[in-house]
Every structure is written in C-alpha cells, then in structure tokens.
Amino acid sequence: MSRTAKILSSLFILFWVLTAFAPSLIAPADPLAINPSQAFQAPSSAHIFGTDESGRDVFTRVIHGAGDSLYIGLAATALGMGLALVLGTAAALAPRWLDEVILRVLEALYSVPSLLMALLIIAFTGPGVGPAIVAVGLSTAPGYARLVRSQIRTLKNSEMLEAATVLGRGTWLKVRNHLVPNALQPLLALVTLGIGQAVIWAAALSFLGLGTPPPAPEWGAMLSAGRTYLHLAWWLSFFPGLAIVVVAAGSTLIGRALGGKVKAV
C-alpha cells in the first residue's frame, strides 16, 4: 500500500468511524426532527441534500444513518467471518472426512443465494435488524470459510512454516507467530471488501421492508422511502444511495489495496 493510499484510506475510515459514533459533530441537527412546512425542499445551501417528505434534513439523516447501516454491515461481516474462522480453520486442520463434511455444509449454505437465504431466515424469524444481521452474516459465511480454509492450508504447507519447523519452533509458536497473523492479513482485506457488500445486502433487506424500521435513518430504509418520490424529489433516494456506493466502493478500494482479490464474498 502506498503512502498516499494509506493516508486516504485512514481518512476514509476515520470519517466513517466519526460519522458512525459522533454524527452530531458533522451534522448537529436532529435526524428525526420534522418540519412539514419544509417538506420536499431541493438541495440548497440551507439543506445541502434537500429535505424529505416530513421536512427532515436529508444530509443530517444520511450522516446519522451511517451508524445503523455500518453497524449492520459490520455485525453481519463479523458474524460471517467468525463462523468462517471456526468452520474454515476446522476444515483446514481436520482429518479428511471432517473436512469433507464441513465442505458439504458450506456448499449447502452457499447453494442458497444470499438474499434468498436472508428471506428464508426472515420467513422463520420475522423481519427486523437482528434477523437481517444473522441472514447476511450466515449467507456470507461460506464464502469466507472457503477462503479461510484454503488460506490456512496454503500457510500450513508454506516454506515459511517449514523454515520455522527447521528452526525448531514448536506448534504453538508456529501458530502464534506465523499462522494466525499471516492468515488474518488477507482475511482483513477480504473483510474490508465484504463489508461494502454486506452494507448493500442489509440495505436491500431494508429496501424490501424487512430490515431497520423507520424513522431510523438507515440508508436502505431511506432509499426505500425515497424511491416513491423519485419523480418529485430525486434527492431523497439519491443521497442515501450515494452513501452506500461510497462505502461499498471505498471498502473495495481499501480491501484491494490491502491485497484482497475480488472473490466470492
């Protein structure tokens, strides 16, 4: 990663962390404050992203929405990655038969498309943020797990670990000093790539009315609400959509800079 890329990525992450944890620093207004007389104002200096159907400031809502949207994306990715670490590591280190069993389970998880799996889970649990996280997490897990597995298998047979063996390192030292840190590095890149997609999937669920309930300013929900006014007020759906695109594109860029390859995540 070049120096400029490092600085830019750090700024990007810092910006979103800031918006997620202290949105009021950037947009001090209340994202839920209504003002019906100011509804459907086009972007202007007073409301740079315009106002929505209840006169709420879209900029304020987009900024305040970062917390929810990113939370779902991060939580889902964390869940997916956690599951993947367990399954992937187990598969990589387990005897052949167990590896085979885990692979089949992963394939089964993989065979139902993400959003379909999410809907399936919601059919059992009913809609909401929790099910959305579980659904997105579960549907991304197999992709991660396969990569964890191959990553660990590659590392397990790497010259690096052989060199450590030759130097007389015990299993624990090899795992702690080399296997884990080196497995995590590409996974970090992968997770970064994955977060963007998780945010999109979570937004898709909200868009279908199965995620975050209103009036919380979650991007997918805002987009969903705004799309009905597409003919009247494009800014209602444009800016939340832009936020999703920026986060997803940014996470792709950083993920790639971290050495991640675009893979099935």
Binding site: L32, A33, I34, P36, S37, A39, F40, E53, S54, G55, G126, P127, G209, P213, P214, P215, A225, R227, T228, Y229, L230, H231, L232
Partner: protein, 552 residues
Amino acid sequence: MRRNQRATRLLTGALALPLAAALIAGCSSTEDPSANKDTKPVAGGTLVYASGDAEPSCLDPHVGGNYPQALVASQFMESLFTKDAEGKIIPWLAEKSEVSADGLTRTITLRDGITFHDGTKLTSEAIKANIEHLQDPNTASSTGYLAVGKVDQIKLVDDLTAELKLSAPDNALLESLSMPWTAIQSPQGLKRDQAANCAAPAGTGPFKVESWDRQQAVNLVRYEDYVSPAANAERASATSYLDGITWRFIPEAASRYAALQSGEVDVIDNPQPDTISTAADNGLGHLDAPRPGASNRLELNSSKAPFDDVRVREAFMHSVDVNSGINSLYFNTAKRSYSLLSSVEPLGISDDSKFTTDATKANELLDAAGWSERDSEGYRVKDGKRLTLKFPVSTNQSVPAEQSLFEQMQAAAKPVGFEVKIELLDLSSWYGALAKHEYDLVSAPYTKVGPSVLRILFHSDSTIPAPSGYFANNAQIKDPKLDQLLVDAEQTNDEAERAELYKQAQQIVLDGYYVMPLYDQQNHFLYSKNVHGMGETTAVSSPIYYNVFLDK
C-alpha cells in the same frame, strides 16, 4: 343500474357519452382530458390496468374479502344491490325486495334473463348458494361473512324469488348485499374446489376471467352475453366497449407511474399523492373515489394502559399535528376528516374541536393522569414505566405517505412525552400483533357500505376474536350504552331515528377519544388521455370499466 357517477365536467361537457346520473357530494375528478373532445364511444381495444396492491391469492371476493379483490371482482361479478349517484341503495341483479313488518324476513326477487359466465341462468338458487358459501367456515370469508351474519336461513320461493330469514332486524342488509364481497357467482362454479373457483370465478359482470398468469396479469375479456340490469337505450350493444382488461400487478409506485407515463398501462391505482397533484399538468386523468364505511383513522386501544385512561387518550389527540402533515404529504389530494365515517356516508358526524393541536393541554392532561415525571430521554414515566405506545403498521395497508404521516406523529408526540414505537409489519405479522393485543395504536381500514360499519367497529361483541383471531373493534370499546344504540340503529324502520341513533353512537366514540379520524380511505386512480368514460363505480367505490373506451 345507476352507479356512482363522478365526473361533473364529463357530464356537462359530454352529454353524448352514455353516462348518466348526478354526482355524489364529496367526490371529485380532476379534469378529464377527454371531456371537451366530444368523443364518441368506440368498441375495441384492451385496457391495461396496473394495480399497486398485492396480487390477490384468490379472485373470488368471498374468500377473505379485501379491497384489491373487490377492485378486480367488480369487473366480472355483480351484486344484488348497488348504490345510485345520490347514495341510495337500489336493486341491481335483484329486481325488487321487500321486508316484513317485523323486519325478520327479507324477500328478494331477481331479474330474469341474466346468465353467468359459465352459461347457467341466474336463479334464486344462486342467492342461497352464495350466502351459504359466505357463511361456510371453509370459505374463510371475513368481510362477506360479517355482512350476512344475521341471515339465518334462506327459503326459495320460486325460480327468481328467495326469502331470507333473519335472526334480528337488519336495516343494513341491502347495503351489505351491495358490496362486491357478497357479489353473486354461479352456484355451479361454487361447487368446484376452492382453488379452481379462486382462479376463475363465474359471475355475471361485463367481463369474464379468461386466464390468470400468476404474478403477471389477470386477463379479462368481454362477456358477449352480458345483459345490463340497467338497460340503456343509447348503447347499441349491451356488451362492454373494451375487448378486455389486462389486470396487472406492479407493486412499485414509481414503476407503476412510469409505466403510465410511457403509455405501457392505461390506468393505475394507488398513485403517489405528488403524482396525483401533477396529473393534470402531465395530461393524465384523475378519478378520486373515497371508499364508503369508516374513515381512515387511528384507533387507541382502551383495554390496557396507558390508553385505558381517557385523559391519556385525549392528551394524545392534542399532542400531534395531523393537518400540517396531511398538507405536506398529500398535496391537497386528501382532506382532513373529523368523522368516524367516510365523507360519502350521509349519516356521519364531524367534530373538529376534539382534535386541536395543543401541547399545553396535552401536558396538563398527562400530568393530571399521573404521567408527570420524565426520563433522561424526555419521555414521560409513571411507576417506573415509560409512556410507550406500540404502533404496528401494516405495510400492505398503509401507503408510504401514510407511513410518513405516522412518523410525523411519532416525532410530534415526543416533546409531549409519548414514545411512539412504530413497527412496520407485513400483513401476517400485523394480524398476529393485533391478535396478541400487542398494540396501543393501530390504523385498520374498514370498508363497508352504510353506517352499520359502526357496529362492526365499535360494538363490544367485536372485541371477541373470531375463530381466525380477527376482531374489528381495535379500540376495544366496551360500552353497553353504545352497544344498545348500535343494535337499535340497525333494527329501526325509521330513517330519522336511525340517523339519530347513529349520531348518538358516534358522539360517544368521539367523546371517549377512542378514535382519531385522519381522512377518507383514499381511492385514487390515474389514467392516460386515451381512456374515456372513467367514473362509474360500485357501491364500495371500485371503478367499473363497462362504459370505458379507448381511443382508436
């Protein structure tokens, strides 16, 4: 039959049109683009209709019985009675009807010469078969079932005459029988299994169901043997002008409107308010047909805290500002209602004094009711419990503008100290939440012809769930005096007394702050300029396309 005619301009400007009758007050249509063109009706062409409602799982409106079913069924099924332009109930498939002095026997005589789409003749047997079908628990009828609840047994007098024995006098029976949910279909058809009948019910309407490509369209075609119960000399042929109707389901409002704009579809329902307001500018026709029965309203669950205290209910009424919300969200397409009943119901009374926005008063009432403390988030607390209102909202029943309105209420109630928790639910979960009494506020539209809807909505019997778990009295009003008024109102023969009884009943509900009326149940349609003759509707305001024609 004189069905509701709603286009004044149409009527004055285009007398050549084979349309008749005056307007019902309160209904309006923006300028019909065809009105001044003196267009002569031409036969032919298939109209494409795009509905924003969920695709019904059954085309037979007896099964379940919701408004989307009524919208489509109005094209291929007809009722025994209907409502004329003045709002009076008149016979339709029936020729005449009489009631005995004790009010317990209703005799209905059918018109002769009408045939169902399956070729069978309309006879009194059909009345019996249809009402029994509605009452059969396996039909799982909700709306029609309640409408014919007082019919005990049916006696066939002759080929065209049936006698309905009632358990109690019911002056709303004809209104009930004017609704599409009690429309008449072929007894032969009803004998099929439910899936078959759901796919293509055989009615008597001007169109018949040719096919139903699920998720694409219900294809309706002209019924060539149609006999209009209201003969019209000006029409050369009794059959519809249109060759057929392609009834599509396009749930996305923006897509639906785009399709209308690009000419892919001719008529859409459930348009967004902003698109209604600009319809005329965009060369589109607009039909506004408020549904009868109840107005769209919020019901406050009075059976449990905090709304078991009338002061809290009153405080809520004063804490929100509905009017400015309606103004900003509905673009002057919806008028604020202060009545329990639709504006098309002549017996409804209005009382705007109860719904003023007055935060001071609301605060005083809440203080008085013991909700005087506030927690860190500014919500009121009593005995350690927050003043929380659970508000399940059905995404199928509340359009986006209405959801936004609720969000605005939520925001407005917060400074006063109410925590309104809106839960957007699919229909199934929404019913589930209601069945479990997990609500303090709810908006449940109910369409029925006539003021007897008040009994369904506010009689204490309606707090008892049906076997399906459904109950209509969501405000949970249990007032013996109100019950008595509602029962008496349905049994009297005297119109004036009926009006008075309903007035008193409505006053009790309004005084108890059980219900917050919002506006009429919105029922708007936009249509492109090549569509002519829009305006005719059934008793429940669902449009009929019998007289509609397209430019060649």
